[in-house]
């Protein structure tokens, strides 16, 4: 290595010099460096010379060396008012000239942005639930898992009344707690009018744990005394016709609630609960009332699991540490399964999970599927990206037409910086126009969407009222500015990079350099579209499956009416119920009528300590309970597998004398019986007495297919607060309802007549899924549509470039068919790649969604094939329309222009 080369100065400093130094200075500086270097070699040692050389180069890293050579000509600033005016003019003229093209381009953007805004509103609304509470991050809900023989038998938010008071006493991390009991619909009575309203019994900390402000009344004392009631603003107006000014005068007035003979004293008027609250009550009643009507056990009992607790922790309290103390807490109060027949585990659920990420039984509030919300967000992002990609593809597709303009501009002295500015400003104009139109369209579509999804959405959710507050607006503006710039940059650079000489000489051919960029963009668009198509497809299959699956009972034309809740129970009640049913059955349109405490679709209550009599290891198991009369199984056509149905004599006004029960097959098996025959005639123990299993019925889906079939025990108890199910055998439902209503009012005067049809009520369980299906399919369709616009633009671009080739092929005898195939196959290849990428993504996504259902369809390969085929057909239809046009063109025309 040490040849005479070693006499030369080291190379890397010079390279460095060229890197940072303005080009016009390089020569003289290198000259000076070399001259000094050789002088120093002569006068001293070579190492010193090399060292000084390096130091000299490094010492030149100063401002003077970076400065570009001053131009000999005046340099106008890049932002010139007159030029900007010119850019706008040219942009508008261009849009006007290619009306169809601009329309397609603008449509894609407007549709994309509108869809995105609408979805974002929804997402923002859903994510903002319960955020309005002060200290929302310190509020937790106590949840309770119950285990028997190591198996989870209940995963609930419902738990024992004594849990929160005991925790408040034992753990000083807890600042305060509130207990909610008996939530439901109440009949408020004032001046012989009945007003139904949702409400609950809550303890006096409720208004301090949560942020539900009172307009009138003292929040500290309003819910202390028994039979105190706080009503919402809406109820103040509805029941008392109060106006904003005289809410205070309502305090001290009274209403009657349900069957309670004593009046409730109004102690406060509160603002209506915000829509984004998982708790939705119009009236709050003091918890002390329950202590009077239900009994003292509601204060601190550990036997019945009937209440919901929310705790507010002290600032800085460690939740994880607190939860670690719960097992010993459980041992202290529940002693394993000694107290309740099951082992109790407690957890704390953050308040902000109560609405979207809560999979508990006995939910107290409005629950939505968090996964669905995230899915919608992903769809929104996809649609926006697809729209912008479209813009990129369509604008570059037009670049051929603009090439001459670029050439002339360059010859006239335009720098590429100016051209980039020009094309960027064009994209800003178009994007802003699209944004304005999209906001208008969003406002216009708002009512329709709100009605469909039954949510109070508005643009204000994105400007401060929703998730993230004002930051949301800032983030959105940021995203849009970034998107507009990014989608504008590529076309701007592509266009400004044309070589003036080539363009003007006519030997211009666009490079194939940019092709892969556009192709990968198309692949991205189609991958997103295919994922959405497959997803939508499977969602609909599952919805259809759930609608059509045999539930194990028949709910066609079953009219259900609410029991007479305001009628008092007495020794004649059973006879009156039976007489009412008999009277109904005498109507010609009624086939059979029955009474039950509950109907399908509602979560049933459970009994936890059921034991088989006569078995060796009688461990307690858990059943759901359903009190029904002897006509119930007939009304719903539920099959009796063994034993007999109930008889009227099985019931008794004295509940303690009822000892005959019917089980479903699951319950019989849970007790250890092999089949229905074996169970019939046997006994089990519950509530400290023995029960005869007089019959066993087949299993049925008591709730939606999201839930597993439960073991159920049916007992022939009657209640006035239950339901009557009436099987109608005529198509004239309206008339039948009228006649039933008349009978009802005769038998149970003073009660509201409420009715619904069982199948409608049951299918309402799928409402959220149905809306999710509809909305996501609509937006998926949009995504596919916009993606097709993109492929339309790209194909017109490439085909325009190949007109001459097509001409030559035709002259040489190619058929229209072969040319169409030739032109289409490039795009079909892209779609094929998209299918390969999109399918696994879609598979993963739908599997996550399907996991929520206990009974679900299998994901099968043909679903993917079908979705892929659909995408292929759409792509082919889009491309071939252009390809056929090109193939049919007269070759003489395309060739003579040479």
């Amino acid at each position: 290595m040490k040849s005479n080369n070693s006499q030369n100065p080291p190379k890397w400093p010079n390279r460095l010099l060229r890197l940072f130094c303005a080009s016009h200075l390089v020569e003289e500086l290198e000259g000076d460096l070399e001259e000094l270097y050789f002088q120093r070699i002569k006068s001293g040692d070579i190492n010193n010379a090399r060292f000084r050389h390096t130091i000299d180069v490094l010492s030149m890293i100063r401002p003077f060396a970076f400065k570009k050579e001053a131009s000999k000509y005046p340099q106008p600033s890049i932002i010139q008012l007159s030029m900007i005016r010119n850019y706008f003019k040219i942009a508008l003229r261009n849009m006007w000239k290619n009306k169809a093209f601009s329309f397609v381009n603008l449509t894609g953007l407007v549709v994309g942005i509108t869809a995105c805004l609408l979805i974002l509103q929804y997402v923002s609304f859903e994510l903002s639930f319960d955020q309005f509470h002060k200290d929302a991050d310190r509020i937790y809900r106590i949840t309770n898992d119950r285990f028997q023989q190591g198996k989870l038998v209940q995963h609930g938010t419902i738990t024992y009344p004594g849990v929160a008071p005991a925790m408040g006493k034992d753990f000083n991390e807890i600042e305060s707690y509130t207990t909610i009991g008996n939530p439901g619909t109440f009949s408020l009575q004032k001046d012989h009018k009945i007003y139904e309203e949702k409400g609950a019994y809550v303890n006096d900390h409720f208004l301090s744990v949560f942020t539900f402000p009172l307009i009138a009344g003292d929040p500290k004392t309003a819910l202390k005394a028994p039979r105190s009631i706080v009503i919402s603003e809406t109820n103040a107006q509805r029941i008392f016709h109060a106006t904003t000014d005289d809410y205070a005068t309502l305090i001290g007035k009274t209403v009657h609630v349900d069957q309670d003979t004593e009046p409730y004293l109004i102690t406060g008027v509160m603002k209506d609960f915000p829509a984004a609250s998982h708790l939705q009550y119009g009236v709050l009643m003091s918890y002390e009332t329950l202590a009077k009507t239900w009994g003292e056990w509601v204060r601190a009992g550990f036997e019945s699991s009937d209440m919901w607790h929310y705790v507010k922790l002290k600032p800085g309290a460690d939740v994880a540490k607190l939860e670690k103390k719960f097992p010993s807490f459980s041992q202290r109060y529940f002693k394993g399964d000694k107290v309740t027949g099951s082992e109790e585990k407690f957890f704390l659920q953050p308040l902000n999970k109560a609405h979207l990420f809560s999979d508990y039984e006995y939910e107290i509030g409005k629950v939505n599927n968090g996964k669905a919300v995230w899915t919608m967000l992903i769809i929104a992002v996809f649609i926006l990206l697809i729209a912008w990609i479209n813009y990129i593809n369509l604008s570059t597709a037009r670049s051929l037409e603009r090439a001459k303009e670029v050439g002339v501009r360059k010859v006239a002295g335009a720098t590429s910086g100016q051209l980039i500015w020009q094309f960027l400003s064009e994209s800003i104009i178009l994007n802003l126009l699209a944004l304005i139109l999209a906001v208008g369209l969003t406002v216009a579509l708002q009512p329709v969407l709100n009605q469909l999804i039954e949510k109070p959405l508005s643009l204000s959710l994105l400007t401060g009222d929703g998730f993230g507050g004002k930051y949301m607006a800032l983030v959105l503006v940021g995203i849009f500015v970034l998107g507009i710039l990014l989608s504008g940059f590529y076309p701007a650079f592509a266009l400004s990079a044309f070589k003036a000489i080539q363009v003007l000489k006519g030997s211009f051919k666009t490079s194939t350099k940019g092709i892969w960029v556009r192709q990968s963009l198309v692949v991205f668009q189609y991958t997103a579209s295919i994922t959405l198509i497959i997803g939508t497809f499977i969602v609909f299959k599952q919805l259809k499956f759930m609608r059509e699956e045999n539930l194990g009972f028949n709910m066609d034309r079953v009219l259900v009416i609410r029991g007479p809740e305001l009628t008092r129970w007495d020794s004649t009640a059973i006879d009156r119920i039976n007489a009412f049913k008999t009277e109904l059955e005498r109507l010609p349109s009624v086939k059979v009528a029955s009474a039950s405490a509950n109907v399908f679709g509602n979560r049933l209550s459970r009994s936890f300590n059921v034991k088989r009599v006569g078995a060796d290891n009688a461990k307690g198991v858990t059943f759901s309970r359903m009190p029904v009369d002897f006509a119930f199984f007939e009304t719903y056509q539920i099959k009796m597998l063994a034993g007999r149905n109930f008889r009227p004599t099985d019931s008794n006004n004295d509940g303690n004398k009822v000892t005959n029960a019917i089980l479903n097959l699951s319950a019989a098996k849970l007790l250890g019986f092999k089949d229905a025959e074996q169970a019939a005639g046997q006994k089990f123990e519950l509530y400290g007495k023995e029960w005869n299993i007089v019959g066993v019925v087949s299993d049925f889906h008591q709730q939606s297919l999201k839930h597993a079939i439960e073991p159920i025990v049916f007992a022939p108890f009657y209640t006035l607060a239950g339901f009557f199910s009436i099987k109608i055998n005529t198509a004239d439902l309206g008339n039948s309802i009228g006649m039933v209503k008349q009978k009802y009012n005769d038998f149970f005067p003073g009660n509201n007549f409420n009715y619904f049809f069982m199948n409608e009520k049951f299918n309402e369980q799928y409402k959220d899924d149905r809306i999710f299906g509809q909305v996501s399919s609509f937006f998926s369709l949009l995504a596919v549509m916009i993606a097709s616009l993109g492929i339309f633009g790209l194909s017109s671009y490439t085909i325009a470039q190949r007109t001459k080739e097509i001409g030559v092929r035709k002259v040489l005898g190619a058929t229209v068919g072969s040319i169409v195939t030739l032109l289409s196959q490039d795009f079909l290849k892209l779609v094929l790649i998209s299918i390969v990428i999109g399918s696994p993504i879609a598979w993963y996504g739908v599997r996550l969604w399907l996991n929520d259902f206990a009974y679900k369809i299998d994901i099968e390969w043909w679903m993917f094939v079908l979705a892929g085929l659909l995408a292929m057909i759409i792509a082919f239809a889009t491309v071939s329309s252009q390809a056929i046009k090109a193939a049919l063109m007269n070759p003489a025309k395309s060739l003579k222009s040479e």
């Binding site: 020569e27 003289e28 500086l29 290198e30 000259g31 000076d32 460096l33 070399e34 001259e35 000094l36 050789f38 002088q39 000084r52 130091i55 000299d56 180069v57 490094l58 010492s59 030149m60 890293i61 100063r62 401002p63 003077f64 060396a65």
Partner: protein, 106 residues
């Protein structure tokens, strides 16, 4: 105008250009200064001063001929302008006046 003030090193560079009149370019100026001051200076510092002086209008420059010892690269030749000469004169005058004002007590 900011051009009136001369830093110490700038003054030295300006003087070196005056000394080398007609053959003042980066390497030569560097050598001259090193000899006169007896310490080493960086080429970068010299060039930075030359640019600043040119901006202030005290120097002009033109591209000159190439020589073999610099690998055939041309050099930039600097010359002191009228303003530069005046600036040097002013400095000298001020210094002299100040020297003269020192009381001769010793």
């Amino acid at each position: 105008m900011k051009g009136t003030y001369l830093g110490e090193f700038e003054e030295v560079v300006l003087l070196a250009v005056a000394i080398l009149s007609g053959d003042a370019y980066g390497a030569a100026i560097t050598n001259e200064i090193e000899q006169q001051l007896g310490r080493s200076v960086n080429l970068g510092a010299v060039h930075a001063s030359l640019h600043r002086l040119e901006e202030k209008g005290l120097l002009t420059s033109r591209l000159g001929g190439a020589t073999a010892e610099r690998g055939g690269r041309s050099k930039r030749l600097f010359a002191v302008t009228m303003a530069g000469t005046k600036a040097l004169d002013t400095i000298r005058e001020i210094r002299n006046r100040m020297w003269d004002s020192i009381p001769k007590t010793a």
